[in-house]
Symmetry: C2
Subunit: 228 residues, 2 copies
């Protein structure tokens, strides 16, 4: 069963903002809430997919494994965001593994019900197209970064992205443990650590655990653009 509080949060997801109250209600008739412990796995790659999810609280990591068991974090999902929506159109199998980064509460939305809503509500379909297109764009940028940028450039770029438009002195909180961020950036934890201390030594960042301050975002941007 869903609580009213959940519904409030759900409405905030851009994907659902176009739905009227009764449309949303219909979609949620088949929805259910669930909780995950930190580290708990939600689904595995290749598993048949009957649903996608909205994160109400906590955060998730989506990742792939190599044959040798090495892990690459594809995406970090924060509260308020949806994930695995595109699976409806992918032959009904999850293309990644999903696990909770922290204790999490999710809403599970049934695929068939969602497709019904998509078919009947053109606005929803447009929102969905916009949402998937954004993700596509993100991934293209990840591919570019992995292929054309050094570890240092990717780290700097990531910090700047987290800082957003915020001006000087902006403080950033890493959305996960450092080794998870490292994997997200396609580098090893050791390398991530070295890059961060390197940046600190040049006074380009202030480092305090997961909290990082960017005293001079412009200088950091310059460093990224010039550096190897």
């Amino acid at each position: 069963m869903l609580k009213d509080i959940d519904l409030q949060l759900l409405r905030k997801a851009p994907l659902f903002s176009s739905l009227g109250p009764q449309e949303l209600g219909q979609l949620l008739d088949s929805a259910s809430a669930l909780s995950l412990q930190a580290g708990e796995q939600l689904f595995a790659e290749g598993e048949p997919a009957q649903a996608f999810y909205v994160v109400i609280e906590g955060s998730m990591r989506l990742y792939k494994l190599s044959a040798e068991g090495n892990e690459k974090v594809i995406e970090l999902i924060q509260a308020g965001e949806t994930f695995a929506e595109a699976v409806v159109f992918l032959g009904g199998r999850y293309p990644v593994h999903a696990a909770a980064l922290s204790p999490a509460r999710l809403i599970r939305i049934d695929n068939t019900e969602f497709v019904r809503a998509l078919r009947s509500n053109n606005n929803l379909a447009m929102k969905m197209l916009a949402s998937i297109s954004m993700r596509l764009h993100q991934l293209v940028n990840d591919v570019r970064a992995l292929s054309l940028e050094s570890a240092g450039q990717r780290v700097a770029g990531y910090l700047l992205e987290l800082a957003g438009e915020a001006g000087a002195g902006s403080e950033v909180l890493l959305p996960a443990q450092k080794h998870v961020i490292a994997s997200r950036l396609g580098i090893k934890p050791e390398t991530f650590s070295r890059v961060l201390t390197g940046l600190r030594e040049q006074n380009l960042i202030d480092l305090e655990g997961q909290h990082i301050r960017l005293p001079d975002a412009a200088a950091l941007r310059r460093w990224r653009d010039n550096h190897r």
Copy 2:
């Protein structure tokens, strides 16, 4: 103006297969044909986008550039395929550069007209969702390969993908010059060459210019799974 022949080919693109004759006709009222010489650039990253394209003949490469001018081929587009459709939802700017690999004929489809069609035709919207989702999946796999696989594994995987389900002795034709394929795979031409000769020396492939034969796809798959 469009020729009838073009229309035949257009209908083959999965995106348009759901359209009735008059819907397609309406979409194509605002469409136009154009030709490109080999190597000619169609659009640059960041350029405002009023249209997307269908390749009627020839092939295209979509690529990104680094600050230093290095190039990463994101995708190779063959005749019959569409590209840059998702741009409608991306703030109207192309996220990549596009240039012809060989002499090419394209059909240019106006964005505003296309959005109109999307809004009025739910089937088209669903097809579009499916199409973009596939590309998303592809990119996730590229990210995985770039992060978790060695150069050799990526090359072997690419050859196997080109060969498709075809059984033993299948012959594959590289869809572009080798340095372009190398960039697509995120490696340098020299490395690509070395990997191919390595595979040849182990009799895992037969090499004749752009033609590559896979005498034993299973063995190649095994090599990829075991090798570094």
